[in-house]
Subunit: 115 residues, 4 copies
């Protein structure tokens, strides 16, 4: 079994032992994905670029916990939706390569529709 | 190389070919993680439970693209922070198992501090 | 002075007494707006429609605090950007009236570009 | 009628002409508040402090539209929940004044629980 698949199976086992599938509809999982991503972001609120790096080192374990929360909702949601995440990433990277050709996008953070 | 590691290497190659590392500080990556998670959620805005499932089937490819965006920022951010994501997930699941013991949490969506 | 203007002045006084203007750049205020909105949303995570209403009554004061946080960042951000919020709302409602004509939009939650 | 009350009445009239109350439950309104706040934040994604100010001037009208969207959901949600927003702001500012006394908080962006 692939790594993501195997992690996803553990997540689903944890969920099913608690009979939580009933709450994990796509809308609440998406909403939870946003909330957990917001908890990652909160770590960097009000911080200047130099403070950001120091904080990241100092609170690495707390941030790791938040990233894990994002990952767990992401992997479960993809699975519930019947989406193969590695394949989806591959497809999206191919699209992005067209939207952001190296020659045009190099060294610029402009959105593709304004490039 | 593990699956997540190998995907992360592709993401970093894409980024570095475009010289985008300079923009990908932890704060902007976290912020982007929230924005992409919001785009997933937008798919389910205003939708009733029954509409949610129909929409998920109908727009599976669009949603797969949004999940891929979340995954790509998540994998890169973890890597930039020196966080081993599978290990972080393992640690967090062990914590969650203590916060949400099966006997107490079964069939309930109550937050651990109110269980 | 108008009501929103007068509330905004109090918010700015609070901020300036603490010398916080230096942190309140547009990016961090926008980011904070998202974080506070997420705290509102967290109140309704995992809750079914019927649970939502009960929770809203039970935790009215906590939710009021979260809405106040959103309002304070919103009013300050608009002020910092030189945006007259009541005027902006008026303009946006006029645009929305065109995007969502009553005849087409009545009883439907479809986005304007799919109406 | 107060300014916020009067704006809220216009928002509700717009909503009711379209028979949208049925979709505007607290959960979907909170979710929409987050999505609109995210659209404000998107304006500042990847931008350095100096770029932020230039962009804010250049795209003032677009940002005003996004802030208006946040305000409209905020005002309606507060009204639906029976929350008096100006009063809620007053209460929250009184709490914040205790959490962030001038002497301790001056010139620092530290969260109150670490002050």
């Amino acid at each position: 079994m692939s790594e993501i698949k195997s992690i996803t199976e553990k997540i689903k086992k944890f969920r099913d032992e608690r009979d939580w599938k009933q709450f994990h509809n796509h809308k609440d999982l998406s909403l939870s994905l946003v909330l957990e991503a917001a908890e990652v972001l909160e770590h960097f609120q009000w911080k200047s670029p130099s403070e950001v790096d120091g904080h990241a080192r100092e609170c690495k374990d707390e941030i790791a916990d938040e990233l894990a929360d994002v990952a767990m909702y992401l992997f479960e949601l993809a699975d519930n939706l019947g989406i193969d995440l590695p394949k989806a990433i591959n497809n999206k990277m191919a699209k992005n390569a067209k939207k952001y050709p190296v020659a045009k996008a190099r060294g610029r953070h402009t959105k593709y529709d304004r490039l």
